[in-house]
Symmetry: C2
Subunit: 257 residues, 2 copies
């Protein structure tokens, strides 16, 4: 990828994990609604993703997009996810197609499929002897309206791939925490994504060839109910971390959501 990579929502947690690992490997154009608070690689554009003209201008000359921007709160109200996550995603896809972008990486979420975790299945499904594996071919089952908005972003990606030839990969991001997995939180351990695996996975999304894909973004945890086979096979994802390696270590923090 010689052309600049547009990273929306660059100042958020996922954006920081990505830049922490691969800041030096691409020419970046960072976009966020908030101005930068520290050093950053490449250009920085302050823009709202629901403003087509601003997004289209930021898209000029871009080879690939990593679209993270949106309301990240699982409990976000409908009015916000409708505007920021659904209309916002549509605006960014549209601008990408209009600018001739090749690859589009969409940050989806475990909340798009959270309702597979039924009362009957939990907490057993969070443990390493459980056989259930979601693999990205299943229909969404969102636990909240945020998850609905992420599932819609996936469908928008399918449309822009089928009808406008944009190559799209949707990453259903698990539980991203820095340094170590969530403590005393089996669900978070099962879907843990370490910062370095996150950066590596998005690096693969920028380099690999694909048409339209939905993959799970988690480390290679012993406990998991998301398959990472598709990410390995199509993207060449080769995760280094596993939440099981932290079991029994000193518990320095409480559980994180």
């Amino acid at each position: 990828m010689d052309d600049p990579v547009l990273l929306t929502g660059a100042s958020g947690r996922v954006g920081q994990a990505i830049l922490g690992g691969i800041a030096d490997d691409y020419e970046w154009r960072l976009l966020d609604r908030e101005p930068p608070t520290g050093d950053h690689p490449g250009e920085y554009v302050v823009a709202d993703i629901t403003d087509y003209d601003e997004v289209r201008a930021a898209m000029e000359g871009v080879g690939a997009v990593i679209h993270l921007a949106g309301d990240p709160r699982p409990e976000a109200p409908w009015s916000s996810v409708l505007e920021n996550n659904i209309d916002g995603a549509k605006t960014v896809y549209e601008a990408a197609v209009d600018a001739g972008v090749e690859k589009f990486v969409f940050a989806s979420s475990n909340h798009a499929v959270g309702a597979y975790e039924t009362d009957e299945r939990t907490p057993e499904m969070y443990r390493d002897h459980h056989e259930l594996r979601l693999d990205g071919t299943e229909l969404p089952r969102p636990t909240n309206l945020y998850g609905v908005s992420k599932a819609t972003g996936e469908v928008l990606g399918r449309y822009y791939h089928d009808e406008h030839d944009l190559d799209v990969v949707c990453v259903r991001i698990g539980n991203l925490t820095e340094g170590h997995p969530p403590i005393d939180y089996e669900r978070g351990q099962a879907m843990w994504l370490s910062y370095r695996d996150c950066a590596h996975l998005f690096d693969r999304c920028l380099r690999a060839d694909y048409d339209y894909e939905i993959v799970y973004g988690i480390s290679d945890n012993d406990r998991k109910y998301y398959s990472i086979d598709r990410a390995k096979d199509v993207l060449g994802y080769d995760p280094q971390d596993n939440s099981a390696h932290f079991e029994g270590e000193e518990r320095v923090h409480g559980p994180e959501a």
Copy 2:
């Protein structure tokens, strides 16, 4: 279903097909943005589905909802489907849950999966020797933003079922034409839905027991690439018509989209 049935978009084509068949079988509350133009059964409420308070008032005492209202144009612009079909559907689902409605029938569309009709598969897939059958378990592949909005309505239904115990059936409606199948239009013949089968199918959606379902709404056409097995098994759908029975008859009309 002894309680009234709320029918949104009552004045549209699907609403008229339903009322043409089962007007006398339920106590209806009809809702449409436009005032009635002729006789109609039951109450008639003029309201916009994006207005929660209006919809909630119309929902009072209702046992089941058939939600047809929305922009029906496959070529509808994003601004319209975002407001009328996505935000509108969310408003109607929300009001239904708040009013304690039992069953929700969502009018989805063949356009939610139109992109399975690839250049490589067509027109062979429209013919009766072709083996492809979409059955409602496949991920959406919309051909247009209208189809994206219908896929989103399905996901909203999944959410309101899983998190709010609303029983939901999504009907991916084929090509509804009155009297006879589309002429000289293989795609339309493969997904033809006669008026009487339409009324019968929605009748079954009001009477059957289900949790969350996605079914295809077509007649029992020889040529089909949508399975009607699920509609038969879960809903007791027993279609009477078949577009093949009209082949060779006088062609009184041109093709309809």
